[in-house]
């Protein structure tokens, strides 16, 4: 159970808005393997291919046999908390502003020692714990000692909560609330305790089934937002940009065409205009204000979520131009991440597999329901991840892509036949 956060007091307008600080962001290149896994919510450590020795901190060669064949493997994180301290002094501003911190030494069953944050729910050493990995506010992996049993949330620890982007009590823009996915996300965010949800609506003359029900949510406020229209995006940013804590980019134009199946570029342009330029317009108008408010009290600007597609990783020829537009958006999201990271604002990308909607009608199951996708989004905000692959198809694709991108390209190429 997460603590119930009361609606925070309004900000005193004569006080200076606090500026963001970050935990130390520097890591060696080899240590970024830990970050890559933590971005997906996984604990991976280096393991020697030749002798099986587990390594930590990350190394260039095996500490046991000097082999250079070290690979990152998932770990269960089981171990013993052997010592702990509560830090009351810190050198970095980020930690100093949030003292004290509970830090411990954990001896993993794989015979490596890790230094880790210790969750509030963990008892005094010596005791069994489970190490998890999450991203800290600098976007780097942080190891956390959790109780061996039970699964307390990061949110339940007042310090580790800082690693999350909890939607509770926050003001959130959902850029397109008309699509089935957009509607499900609005509902999920409302259920997660969002304080206010601006629901973007383009082409208001087009009705969307189920949309009117959203208006009954007490947090909902429908706003005009057409991400293909720079003026519209600018107008809305001018109106609410200084209040938005989380932007959820749900705009998605999905047409199921391969490049040969659709003459001309008009449809591809529309996909690009919404999926890529739409993100660009939103980012140009909303990101600066998010950065400026990244340390603004307890309900600060904290996250940006993009609903991308697993097709962003590798082109799915039956939806070829759509895949390309999502790949472009994915690329731009990395730019956005680089822009927002110095402020500690996390960019979370969701890469769902086929969704149970009209444009994936001809895709074979398993398909993701909009509600499942929305639940994955809320989980991501409540956790410490930035790359989310919801659903079995997405999980399958990302594994295949990691293992052999060329093989995946060839396999997907076969789907046109």
């Amino acid at each position: 159970m997460s603590q119930v956060a009361k609606r925070p007091k309004r900000k005193n307008p004569v006080e200076r808005t606090r500026q963001p600080t970050l935990p130390p962001p520097t890591r060696s290149r080899v240590a970024l393997g830990l970050t890559a896994a933590a971005a997906r919510g996984r604990l991976q450590l280096q393991v020697c291919v030749d002798c099986g020795t587990v390594q930590y901190p990350p190394r260039e060669v095996c500490r046991a046999c000097l082999s250079q064949r070290l690979v990152w493997r998932r770990q269960d994180g089981a171990g013993e908390l052997i010592s702990e301290t509560t830090l009351h002094a810190a050198q970095e501003l980020y930690f100093r502003e949030r003292l004290p911190w509970r830090i411990g030494n954990v001896r993993l069953d794989s015979e490596v020692n890790v230094m880790a944050y210790v969750h509030d729910a963990v008892g005094a050493p010596p005791c069994r714990v489970r190490i998890e990995a999450a991203l800290d506010r600098a976007g780097q992996a942080a190891l956390i000692a959790m109780p061996q049993t039970g699964r307390p949330a990061l949110l339940d620890d007042p310090k580790l909560r800082e690693m999350t982007c909890d939607p509770r009590a926050r003001k959130i823009l959902v850029s397109d609330g008309k699509s089935a996915v957009g509607q499900a996300i609005v509902r999920a965010l409302a259920a997660a305790g969002a304080d206010l949800i601006w629901i973007g609506v383009a082409e208001p003359w087009k009705q969307a089934a189920g949309f009117d029900g959203l208006r009954e949510l007490p947090q909902a406020k429908v706003v005009a937002l057409d991400v293909t229209d720079s003026h519209s995006v600018r107008e809305l940013a001018g109106e609410i940009g200084g209040k938005v804590d989380i932007v959820v980019n749900t705009n998605d134009c999905h047409r199921a065409f391969s490049l040969a199946a659709r003459r001309g570029v008009e449809t591809a342009q529309l996909e690009m205009d919404i999926n890529y330029f739409g993100l660009l317009r939103l980012a140009q108008e909303f990101a600066p204000a998010l950065k400026a408010r990244a340390a603004d009290g307890t309900t600060n600007a904290i996250a940006w979520v993009n609903v991308l597609s697993i097709f962003a990783l590798a082109n799915y020829p039956p939806h070829g131009t759509y895949s390309a537009s999502k790949a472009a958006a994915f690329s731009l999201s990395q730019n956005l991440r680089a822009e927002l990271r110095p402020a500690g604002v996390r960019v979370i990308n969701l890469f769902p597999g086929p969704v149970d909607d009209e444009w994936d009608q001809l895709e074979m199951p398993p398909k993701l329901s909009p509600a499942t996708l929305a639940a994955a989004l809320v989980d991501a905000l409540k956790g410490g991840v930035e790359d989310v692959y919801p659903g079995d198809v997405a999980q399958d694709w990302v594994a295949r892509n990691l293992e052999n991108p060329k093989a995946l390209e060839r396999e997907l190429g076969e789907t046109l036949r």
Partner: protein, 282 residues
């Protein structure tokens, strides 16, 4: 093919003759008339803005790109002393002109695209049929040939080569939602019925048909026989369309001249334009 050519030639010459006569008479004093109050101008054009709705088609069809505007510079680092925009739009966005080539029925006519239309057609007399009361009562109101004949009884026979403009006061609907007036059975906006269109094209040899709504056809015209009769018959007969007009309530039933010159787009099917009326004093 031969008939079409002949028809077109005839229309061309009559339209030319029709326009030339008043032009010759009034050339010397048009500006005097405007200054003295002998005539005034009425803007028939909606502002071309990104908010202005475009025609709604099922999403699997190609879509008319709405008007969009991207700032190039505004006295800033992108251009320190000047302000300008790049704009993009479909040919059928905002207050716009439809050329015969727009419809499959007019695709083989000569001079059927906006770049090849006779210049003389860009100024023509207007007959304004006031349907505002009926449209107010019924969004799906259809103008019939009988209505037109009734109008002729009061205002005289529609001259050859004239614009027939259907006034519905639809342009006064400033909220795009009520302007589009869509529900899950489609759009509900007034327009002409198929007989009416045939009557105007064949028996009155008009220059074209103009409306205040988003199309020259009624909102439900996809279900007519043939579908979209105003597009089908008018363009098939080499006639034009004007849509998203406004201020038709400021025009007399007869006597006004419409200036409606589309952009000269190579093989263009239509274009947004600045349409206005010259209204001589009674």
């Amino acid at each position: 093919m031969k008939a079409a050519k002949k028809k077109s030639t005839r229309k061309k010459s009559t339209a030319k003759a029709k326009v030339r006569a008043p032009a010759r008479r009034e050339r010397a004093n048009l500006s005097d008339m405007l200054i003295s109050g002998g005539a005034h101008l009425v803007d028939l054009t909606q502002t071309l803005s990104p908010d202005f709705p475009t025609i709604v088609l099922p999403p699997e069809f190609g879509q008319c790109r709405p008007f969009r505007m991207e700032e190039v510079s505004r006295y800033d680092e992108r251009g320190p002393g000047w302000y300008w925009n790049n704009v993009s739009f479909g040919e059928h966005s905002g207050t716009h002109f439809d050329a015969p080539i727009h419809w499959i029925s007019g695709r083989d006519l000569p001079n059927n695209s906006v770049d090849t239309l006779p210049l003389a057609h860009f100024i023509a007399p207007a007959c304004v049929i006031d349907c505002s009361a009926q449209a107010k009562a019924d969004s799906d109101f259809l103008l019939t040939a009988a209505h037109v004949k009734q109008w002729e009884q009061r205002h005289g026979r529609i001259p050859v080569g004239a614009w027939v403009l259907m006034r519905t006061d639809w342009s006064k609907r400033k909220d795009p939602v009520t302007y589009q007036n869509l529900d899950d059975t489609g759009q509900h906006t007034p327009g002409p019925d198929p007989d009416c269109v045939r009557f105007l094209a064949n028996e009155r040899d008009v220059l074209g048909f103009g409306t205040e709504t988003i199309g020259t056809d009624a909102g439900q015209a996809a279900h007519f026989t043939p579908p979209y009769p105003c597009h089908y018959y008018m363009h098939g007969a080499g006639k034009y369309g004007l849509q998203c007009l406004c201020n038709l309530d400021l025009l007399p039933a007869t006597g006004a001249f419409i200036v409606a010159a589309p952009l000269k787009i190579l093989q263009g099917s239509g274009s947004p334009l600045r349409a206005f009326a010259i209204v001589p004093a009674k």
